[in-house]
Amino acid sequence: MSWLDTVVQGVLLGGLYALFAAGLSLVFGIMRLVNLAHGDLIVLAAFLILVLVSALGLNPFAAAVIAAPLMFAAGWLLQYFLLNRTLGKDILPPLLVTFGLSIVIQNGLLEGFSADSRRIFAGSLETASIGLGPVNAGIMPLMTFLSAVAAVVGLNQLIYRTAVGRAFRATSDDPLTAGLMGIRPQRIFAMATGLAMVVVTIAALYLGTRANFDPTSGPARLIYAFEAVIIGGLGSLWGTLAGGIILGVAQTVGAAINPEWQILAGHLAFLLVLLFKPRGLFPRAVD
């Protein structure tokens, strides 16, 4: 495998990590909430798609289209009835409640689906590839990457071009004054988490079709998402995409040197960025 090939695979893998991270980034940007159950929610969405595929015989993409609104509703309810109660000056309650939620989701999935590794089958798409100049790229990794770009563009359009997006940013700046504009911060937060869950569903689709997953896969996805967000710098979704790409390239390059080093190389890249650029490569928010 040539180095160019390795880097291209890494960039495409980075798309997956950006999809993991975009929801986390969105939610943190709007309500300063770090959801420790984010990875487990990705895995939950993957199981939801799996169930839709196997029970209704659906194509995975069609299943994701059905799963997305369900996940939106789940995220909305979760935020409105549980997480909103934890928001405040103290960072302890949201962290501990979402940590508890992470444990609950993991073990709930273990009860429901056992510890076996699963996979969502996407038929011939899985092995299909196209030539991109000198390198070959798999159709699924390419779709993952394009979906990540689309998700970032879509979220940015929403945030910077619509009334809801203005309300998102206004609430993030100052929830009390936003109330004077008729904005209900509790609902804005619920909507943001709902949206994050839609992105999570897209991430879950590609997680599930590209690799095996099991109920305990969540925490590792959370860590990748977190690393992508920090590498990119808080407050910028394009930064998050770049962070995901850097993480992906670090991992594939590490794996090319020694297959056991894949994950480690990603973590080391993250630590290096933290060492030299503690605010990330493309910082935007002032926190």
Partner: protein
């Protein structure tokens, strides 16, 4: 006229009675290996080591505001350091436990360097990343079994310092003596940890820590070096957690990276113990570890339902009784067993004296 005489106290009547009761309980606990079966001693060992981990996490999160979900790094690293000393250098396991504590503290220096750059909630995940990095690195160490792990040599624990003596004095089998010895060490470690944390909280530094927790900016304004206090707490908990991890693995005698760096075993359980018992109190983790042990036995047959229930209880407590079970008890009864609050005794503050300058 004379000013009423004030006295600053942190002692309460309940705490004095409790002090005597605790001393008696400690004595009985020391005699336990001679009184109860080996199974009970192993249970008690588990409770004591979890208590040590919980007290440390509570000090970090409840007092220093450092919410870590990566404390398993010090358990795992301490355990691996102990294994390394025993297997590679033939050090006695008990000496190795102490070395493990020192090495864990050394590890905490670069760790703090990275994680302290992250703000609040991101610190939490940052500690987790560091734990993953250390786990992955140690999984590369082939001399200690790589990813699959290894066992302590049989004769290492059998010939451990003190085991021979106990065999002669109490007429115990080697394995029984080993369990009793690790139990005693866990008991001492737990007592010292509680004593250390209690003393720290009652000291001037403890007051500074409370000030930082309540309002970091205000505390800085009156000269409390918040960063230094947090760094000290972080290093101290790394030392104790490393020792606890090493001790746990002397008793287990078998290690693997996945088990030694398990988030569930060494951090999730610990967080639930502290949250359910009551975060930000010395009593909380003690109550929490007892509740935790009872729940574990009650739900032992139900597999992952156990953790699911534990998670739900943790969420419920955080939402509806954020100061935990001990907080509920303390609010109802006013009892404090480890009082750290300073109380003025002797005079009455609203006593007004006649004939003052405004009279």
């Amino acid at each position: 006229m004379a000013l009423p005489s004030f006295q600053v106290e942190t002692q309460t009547k309940a705490s004095a009675v409790f002090g005597i009761a605790a001393a008696a309980a400690l004595l009985i606990a020391f005699a336990a290996p001679l009184l109860v079966s080996r199974g009970v001693i192993q249970d008690l060992f588990f409770i004591l080591t979890m208590l040590v981990l919980a007290q440390n996490w509570n000090l970090l999160a409840g007092y220093a505001g450092l919410i870590s979900v990566g404390q398993q790094v010090f358990v795992g690293f301490g355990a691996y350091a102990m294994f390394g000393c025993v297997i590679l250098f033939g050090v006695d396991p008990l000496v190795a436990v102490l070395i493990a504590g020192v090495l864990s503290t050394l590890l905490a220096i670069p760790t703090a360097f990275f994680t302290f750059r992250l703000y609040g909630p991101y610190f939490a995940i940052g500690t987790w990343v560091v734990a993953e990095v250390v786990r992955l690195l140690l999984a590369q160490w082939k001399a200690l079994g790589g990813g699959t792990g290894t066992s302590l040599p049989r004769d290492a624990t059998r010939d451990m310092l003190g085991v021979g003596l106990m065999r002669d004095v109490f007429d115990m089998k080697a394995s029984q003596a080993g369990d009793a010895l690790t139990y005693w060490l866990a008991l001492i470690l737990a007592a010292l940890t509680v004593g250390f944390i209690y003393r720290l909280l009652r000291s001037k530094q403890g007051l500074g820590l409370a000030a930082v927790r309540d309002n970091e900016q205000a505390a800085r304004a009156v000269g409390v070096d918040a960063r230094r206090m947090k760094a000290f707490v972080y290093l101290a908990t790394a030392f104790i957690t490393g020792i606890a991890g090493a001790l746990i693995y002397v008793q287990k005698a078998r290690i693997s990276p996945d088990a030694a760096f398990s988030v569930t075993d060494w951090t999730a359980y610990v967080i639930f113990i502290v949250v359910i018992g009551g975060i930000g109190t010395v009593e909380g983790p003690i109550v929490g570890v007892i509740v935790f042990f009872l729940l574990q036995n009650l739900l032992a047959g139900y597999g992952s339902w156990y953790l699911l229930v534990l998670g739900l209880i943790g969420i419920g407590v955080m939402l509806f009784a954020p100061r935990g079970l001990w907080g509920l008890v303390s609010d109802r009864t006013g009892i404090q067993l480890f009082p750290v609050r300073r109380m003025l005794k002797g005079g009455s503050l609203n006593q007004t004296s006649k004939g003052g300058p405004h009279g």
